[in-house]
Symmetry: C2
Subunit: 116 residues, 2 copies
DNA sequence: AAGAGACGCAACCAGGAGGTTGCGCATGGA
DNA sequence: TCCATGCGCAACCTCCTGGTTGCGTCTCTT
């Protein structure tokens, strides 16, 4: 584990987490992950409790975060999941917890040996 | 990989992502992960560009999300990272992207075989 | 004992986020 | 051709959030 393993920085990851940090948006992500590319209206439905415009806004946020992409087919706009950003976020979480686990181990051995 | 692997639901994960979705807070998480338990003031410093109270607020948000915990030592309150929630969030991201990858593969084979 | 350092609580403030409504424009189907 | 459907754009509103200041309390140090 030599240093410099392309750590994704705050400025990259924070917006991703921010985009995921809303129940409506996270729900959209789930549905897109499970039921493949879907038109805006299908993402709406009575279960969402939000207007179509509301959904559209959320989709734009997700798009800006790079979490989804869209393409038009006829009069529909289809939305599809992009996993790249999810992978980045996942890697970030991995890094942080790994770093902390390592530090914990080091602290523990310090305490046990009593050295400084 | 048979189904039902204790999927963490929206209501659990969204708050975690929301807490991580702020640059200041994510920065705190990083520092706590790297430099172990730290007092509030140490998290502050000139690099943060925020008041101590601002940091305290962020810490409370992180605490409510279960991402950090604290304990007092003398007149300091030390903050420590908790990895449980990080693991949950990571697992969630794993699930979603895995699901989508599977769906993609299925869609592809559908197109190639021309069935359905 | 007294000053300084670290914190907690509360009030306050500006801006952005989530959400809505209204309207106009294309596209598909009868 | 005409109507319904699916979107896009824009204005608007409310509430939460990030951030600040002020002040009081406790603990450590000298």
């Amino acid at each position: 584990m030599s240093g410099g393993t392309t750590v994704q920085h705050l400025e990259v990851t924070a917006p991703i987490f921010a985009a995921l940090g809303d129940p409506s948006r996270l729900s959209i992500i789930e549905r897109l992950g499970a039921d493949g590319p879907l038109p805006t209206t299908r993402l709406n439905g009575p279960g969402s409790g939000v207007t179509r415009q509301g959904i559209t806004k959320h989709l734009r946020v997700l798009e800006n975060a790079g979490l989804v992409e869209s393409f038009r087919v006829g009069r529909d706009r289809l939305w599809r999941l992009r996993t790249e950003q999810l992978v980045i976020a996942r890697g970030y979480l991995d890094q942080v917890s790994a770093e902390w686990d390592g530090r914990l181990a080091r602290l523990k051995s310090l305490v046990e040996s009593g050295s400084e």
